[in-house]
């Protein structure tokens, strides 16, 4: 870790000097993800895609979603049986909270929530010990001993992207305190006792990511696409860093030119370098790609 990011002040020049991090804030190719020759241990992010994940109306296919989740989790945990893999994540005594996202235009699909619930129950957690919430998470999920963090990937008016890091903002007693400097301090939420050390899995849903928008209420069906994927990791920062790359790649393809995200995603870098909750440096992330490869982009 470079200590420059631990300083009390961070300038544009710091980003210039550390191009790997600057990449997150602006634009980059995916070459950093592919240049993984060193023996250094990397953080794993699993991308699983399936051509059959959505029907023609963009409704998720429950069976396919479960299959995708199983592929991702078994790969991530390193155990071939999905139920056994989930038993490594939770135990029957856990009170498990699924932190979902209910944003009306692009909520966490029910099919993904159901697949998580099923595997939690298969792993021995009783139905009564599985809670799910978004806006009320600070109250309803406060006593959970294990958290599963799941939400769709989208561009966000102020934070640059809505990803796994930002999904915990509802655990804060005062969400708006995280808004200054384009949500730079979102990583701090992950150090609050209510969530610290509890997250067992981060799932960034990329079935139909939103890659562009204008204005604070932005959403247009024109700017989502059928990517039909899930990004899964133990590391919320790494999964978001990959999410940024995916959105940038799609923007590049769609607009025919480099089209950086209009809003700074530096909360991802801060989450790593200031709050120490994960890895943002693309050269330290091992992206494992499974399943359908057409149009994979990253």
């Amino acid at each position: 870790m470079s200590d420059v990011f631990c300083r009390s002040k961070l300038t544009r020049r710091d980003f210039m000097r550390h191009a790997a991090y600057a990449a997150l804030a602006t634009t980059v190719g995916t070459e950093m993800l592919q240049s993984q020759g060193s023996g250094e241990k990397k953080v794993k992010v699993v991308l699983v895609r399936d051509e059959e994940a959505l029907d023609k109306n963009r409704n998720p296919n429950p069976k396919v979603i479960l299959r995708m989740l199983d592929r991702a989790v078994t790969e991530l945990v390193g155990i071939s049986d999905p139920v056994e893999a989930w038993r490594k994540l939770v135990n029957p005594n856990d009170l498990v909270g699924i932190k979902t996202n209910v944003w009306s235009y692009l909520p966490t699909p029910k099919e993904v929530e159901d697949a998580i619930k099923l595997r939690l129950m298969n792993a021995g957690v009783s139905k009564e010990r599985i809670l799910i919430d978004d806006r009320g998470a600070r109250t309803t999920l406060a006593n959970c001993t294990a958290l599963i963090n799941v939400r769709p990937l989208r561009t966000h008016y102020w934070a640059g992207i809505g990803g796994c890091i930002k999904n915990y903002i509802m655990f804060s007693p005062n969400p708006s305190q995280y808004h200054p400097d384009t949500c730079a301090s979102l990583g701090h939420i992950w150090t609050l006792p209510i969530v610290k050390g509890k997250t067992r899995l981060n799932i960034l849903v990329v079935l139909t990511p939103l890659f562009h928008g204008i204005g604070p209420h932005h959403f247009s069906p024109k700017y989502i696409w059928d990517y039909k994927g899930l990004l899964v990791s133990f590391d919320p920062v790494a999964v978001d860093a990959i999410g940024v790359q995916l959105l940038l790649a799609k923007r590049r393809e769609f607009f025919g030119e480099e089209k950086p995200l209009p809003y700074n995603t530096h909360h991802i870098i801060y989450a790593d370098k200031k709050y120490g909750i994960g890895v943002s440096d693309l050269s330290k992330i091992n992206l494992v790609k499974l399943g359908w490869m057409e149009g994979v982009l990253i």
Binding site: K9, T11, R12, M16, R17, W158, S220, N264, H266
Partner: protein, 303 residues
């Protein structure tokens, strides 16, 4: 938006009375906007948001408005049929500079000649007039919804009777090579960072009482940004210049110009209570030329 945030008309009335001190109120404007037009019908009452509650309407996006002198906003939806919806937001920004400021930092799309400055892109119409900033959005852009957005824009612009005069600071920006649509007004470093990330800390000591204008310059193959800041006094400008140099270009303590790691140049200087900074300049000469031209303008124009 959270549904529980819908506040009562009574509260609107109370808050708007408070805002009456400076010219026409949001209530005055609301009263001039019809509940129906061309088959579009307002969906319930106006909702009111102030500095404390605005984030409940636009989440983190509220920070943009709060970084200016935002006083309050009224919001309502218009519906037609089952599918079509238009969201109308009217913001009292406190001053014309602040209304222009919010408008200026996100200029996109084409100017459609509504209010004192406007743009439209993909279902979103934004304009400013007087001390008010207006946003009208339809998420489902069709010929019909676009036409309705424009119509409603015209109605709202007419409902705002006052017009505003902008800060003379804008007229100080040298005109040669200036990309007119790039000119923006801001007060705080959080907004500067949104346009041009400089540092996470407030190294230019910007705040409620500073005024900044920024513009993009392109001349042939040369380009740069120019940032002009007015502090409350010369001491403030001098102090900010010192902090900027110390924090950002310490190698330029004497020369006031530095070549950065990306090969571009930064130059800075102060003039009375003004701080002048050229950023991202492709050549040293272009950076210094912009600074000098701005100094000349400040000499010519009484501020």
């Amino acid at each position: 938006m959270k549904p529980e945030v819908a506040l009562s008309v009574l509260l609107v009335g109370v808050m708007i009375i408070c805002a009456r001190a400076s010219g026409e109120s949001l209530n005055d404007i609301a009263g001039r906007i019809p509940n129906e037009f061309d088959g579009w019908r307002a969906d319930g009452r106006w909702r009111y948001y102030d500095r404390k509650t605005l984030f409940q309407h636009i989440d983190g996006g509220a920070e943009l408005y709060l970084a200016y002198r935002f006083k309050g906003a009224i919001v309502r939806r218009y519906l037609k049929g089952k599918e079509m919806e238009i969201a109308l937001d009217i913001y009292d920004m406190g001053t014309p500079d602040d209304a222009f400021g919010v408008f200026s930092v996100e200029r996109l799309g084409e100017d459609v000649g509504i209010g004192q400055g406007s743009d439209y892109i993909e279902g979103l119409l934004r304009f400013w007039k007087g001390r008010f900033f207006v946003s009208i959005l339809t998420r489902l852009e069709t010929d019909e919804t676009k036409s309705a957005v424009m119509k409603l824009g015209g109605i709202v612009a007419n409902a705002i009777s006052e017009t505003g005069k902008l800060t003379k600071l804008i007229s100080i920006l040298p005109t040669e090579g200036l990309k007119e649509r790039s000119v923006c007004f801001l007060r705080k470093h959080t907004i500067l960072n949104r346009i041009y990330f400089l540092a996470d800390k407030n190294i230019l000591e910007l705040g409620d009482n500073t005024e900044c204008v920024m513009g993009r310059y392109e001349q042939g193959n040369k380009s740069a940004y120019l940032l002009l800041i007015r502090y409350s006094d010369a001491r403030g400008a001098s102090k900010a210049l010192n902090r900027f140099i110390t924090s950002y270009i310490p190698e330029a303590k004497r020369s006031k110009v530095a070549k950065l790691e990306d090969g571009k140049y930064v130059a800075s200087d102060s003039y009375g209570r003004f701080l002048l900074i050229a950023l991202d300049a492709t050549t040293k000469e272009f950076a210094l030329k912009l600074i000098e031209a701005t100094r000349q303008r400040l000499k010519e124009v009484k501020m």
